[in-house]
Symmetry: C2
Subunit: 351 residues, 2 copies
C-alpha cells in the first residue's frame, strides 16, 4: 500500500519523474535493495537478477542518485579544490591534472576559485556544507580554518604551501632550493647587483621564493639587492622593471622574478623601454616553467615545477587519507628542474 502510494504522486505535468530505485524494482518485480545491490560493486546478486534489473533500469533511464547515496554512505565522493589567482598561468595546468587524477579514482572535483588568496572564509563554509571527502588547496588557510577542517575530520592537502607550525599534509616544489640554484648560478657567473620582482604579499609561494632568493643571496655575500613586488601578471612585470631601475638609478646585473610571466614582462621592458640586450646587458630569471617561458623570443631561465608528480602526489595523498583517516600528516617536497634558457648568463654554461 505504501509502495502504491509512491507511484501515485508521479504526476509530473510534463513528462515522467526521474526514475528511482523503487521504480526500477517495481518494474523488474524485485525489491529496492536488489536494485541497490545490482548497482554496487561487491554486492551479491545473481546473474538473473542483474539482467532483470538492468533491463528495467535501461527502459526507465534509471541512474543511481549520487546525492542520496552520499547521504547514507557518508561519502560524497567529491573533493574540494581551492585555487586562487588563476591569472597565474601555472595553476590551470595543475587544476586539470588534479581533476584527471581524481577522476581516475572515481572522485569528483568541486571547484572553488578565489579572487584573492585571502578570500578563504566563505569557501571553507561551503566545502564543509557539501561534505566533501577531502580538500586540496592552493590557497593558504589560517590556523583557525585549519582547525575547523581538522575538527570536521576532513583530510587536507596543501599544494605548494606549507603552513608554519601546523600538522598538515602538503605537496610542494622546493622553492627555496630552486631559488638557491638560480642565485648560485647567477652569482658565480659574476652578477653583483640584483633586483627582485616578488609576487603579491598575500601569496605564500611568492613569499617563499622571495625569502629563498634573499637567503641565498645573503649567503653568497651579495648586498646590492633591490626589491619590488608585482601581481604575477605580464604588465606588472614591465612596471616592476621600471620601478627597479628608478629605485636604484640603473638596471641591476640580474633580476630574479617571482614567476615566469613577470620575468617575461621584465624582458620586454628591458628590451623595449631601455634598449637592453638580454642576457648580454642583464640576466633575468623566472620560476615555474610555464609554456610561454619556452617561446623562442624569451626562452626564460627558470625552474620548472614537476607538476605531474606533484599533482599525482597530492591526489594520492588525499585519497589515502580519505580511505584511512588515521594516517598521519605527510609533507612532500619535490625538487624542480633548472632550465638554462637564454635569458640569463649562467655560470656553468662554459663548463
Amino acid at each position: 500500500m505504501s509502495k502504491a502510494a509512491k507511484t501515485d504522486n508521479n504526476k509530473d505535468p510534463k513528462g515522467r519523474k526521474r526514475a528511482t530505485s523503487y521504480d526500477v524494482a517495481e518494474l523488474a518485480g524485485v525489491s529496492q535493495s536488489a536494485v541497490s545491490r545490482v548497482f554496487q560493486d561487491g554486492a551479491s546478486a545473481s546473474q538473473a537478477m542483474r539482467n532483470r534489473v538492468m533491463t528495467a533500469a535501461d527502459t526507465l533511464g534509471y541512474r543511481p542518485n549520487a546525492i542520496a547515496r552520499g547521504l547514507i554512505t557518508q561519502r560524497s565522493n567529491m573533493v574540494a579544490v581551492v585555487i586562487s589567482k588563476l591569472t597565474n598561468l601555472y595553476y590551470p595546468e595543475v587544476l586539470v591534472q588534479l581533476t584527471q587524477r581524481f577522476s581516475e579514482h572515481d572522485v569528483r572535483v568541486l571547484l572553488f576559485a578565489l579572487e584573492h588568496e585571502g578570500d578563504t572564509g566563505t569557501v571553507i563554509e561551503q566545502m564543509l556544507q557539501y561534505r566533501v571527502d577531502g580538500i586540496v588547496t592552493a590557497a593558504m588557510f589560517t590556523p583557525e580554518q585549519i582547525k575547523t577542517i581538522n575538527n570536521a575530520r576532513i583530510p587536507l592537502v596543501f599544494y605548494n604551501r606549507t603552513p608554519r607550525d601546523q600538522l598538515v599534509s602538503s605537496v610542494r616544489c622546493d622553492q627555496e632550493e630552486g631559488e638557491r640554484w638560480l642565485v648560485d648560478e647567477l652569482v658565480n657567473a659574476g652578477h653583483k647587483t640584483f633586483g627582485i620582482v616578488a609576487g603579491p604579499p598575500d601569496s605564500a609561494v611568492g613569499i617563499a621564493r622571495e625569502m629563498g632568493a634573499l637567503n641565498a643571496l645573503a649567503e653568497m655575500g651579495v648586498t646590492d639587492i633591490t626589491t619590488v613586488s608585482g601581481d604575477y601578471g605580464y604588465e606588472t612585470g614591465r612596471e616592476c622593471f621600471a620601478q627597479l631601475v628608478q629605485k636604484r638609478g640603473s638596471p641591476p646585473d640580474a633580476i630574479i622574478a617571482g614567476n615566469d610571466v613577470m620575468a617575461i614582462g621584465c624582458i620586454d621592458a628591458a628590451r623595449e623601454n631601455y634598449g637592453l640586450k638580454v642576457p648580454d646587458d642583464i640576466s633575468i630569471v623566472g620560476f615555474d616553467g610555464v609554456g610561454p617561458a619556452r617561446y623562442a623570443a624569451y626562452d626564460v631561465t627558470t625552474v620548472r615545477q614537476p607538476v605531474l608528480r606533484m599533482t599525482q602526489s597530492a591526489a594520492s595523498m588525499l585519497i589515502e587519507r580519505i580511505e584511512n583517516p588515521e594516517l598521519s600528516p605527510e609533507k612532500r617536497a619535490f625538487s624542480g628542474r633548472l632550465i638554462r634558457g637564454s635569458s640569463a648568463r649562467l655560470h656553468s654554461e662554459d663548463a
Copy 2:
C-alpha cells in the same frame, strides 16, 4: 524515545560525530524543524528562536548538510562545467570566470576535465548521477547525449559551440565573423597566398574558424590556400609552419592560425627557422586574444573573445533556466574585437 535512540549511537570512538539539526534542536530545546527554518532564508522564526538555535549551533559546530538538503529539495545547487583541452591557454580564464559568476549566485561548480573533446561519454553519466542543476559545456556532445540530458530535464548551455540542428542554448563568440575580419584585412592589404593552421579535427571551435576563414577567402576570390592542422599548442605551431612551407614550396603571404598560441609558434618558426621578418615578409594572425598574444615580442594580430560577457551570459542563461525550466533555448553570439597587433600588415592601418 526514538529521539533518544538517535543520540545513543553517537559513539564515535575518537571525537564526536558531526552535529546534525537534531543535535542542535535537542541542545536548544526546540524541534528539528525549527533548526531547519532558522537556517533558511525566507522561513518564519522568531528572533528568540534564532538566537537560541544559533547559539546551540555554534557550540556544536553545526553546519547544514548540503547533501541532505539536496535530496529533499531536489536541488543540488551544483552545476557541471565541462572543459576539454585546457592546454588551450584560453579556457582557464573562462573557467575561473564561470566559477566566480556561479558562486555569486550561490551555485557550486563540479568540474569535469576531458583529455580530448571526444571523451564525453562517461562524464555525462557522472553529471546525471550527481543531479547537477545545470551544465555548461565547452566540449561538444552528440545528439544522443543531448537528448539524454534533455530527458533528464537538465538545462544545458554550450560554450562556444552550437550543435547543428539542435534546439539548445549556447553562448559563443562569432568565430566566422572574426575570421572574416581578419581575411578582409589581409586580402585588402594585398596578401595573395594563404596558409591556414587549423585546430585539431575534433575541436568544434577549430572547425568553425577554419570554415569561416575558408569561406571568407573564397568570397574574396583567393584560391592559393594551403591547410595544415595542429593541436593548439606552441610546438605544433612551429611544426605547422614548417609543414606549410614544405607543402607549398615557399612561405605564403599570410598565415591564419586557429589560435594565438599556434600563431606564436608560427612567428617563432618564421623568424628562427626561415629568417623571415614578421610582418614584413609574412603576416601571421591568430584568434582568442590570450595573454601571451600581447607580449611585446609577438603582439599578435588577433580577435579577442569577450570572455567576461560570454561567461556572464552563460552563467545567467543557465541559472535562468534552472529557475524556470520552461524557458525556451536561446543562442547568443558575441562579436569579438579585432586587435591590430604588429604581427600582420593590415589594410586599414594607413586609413
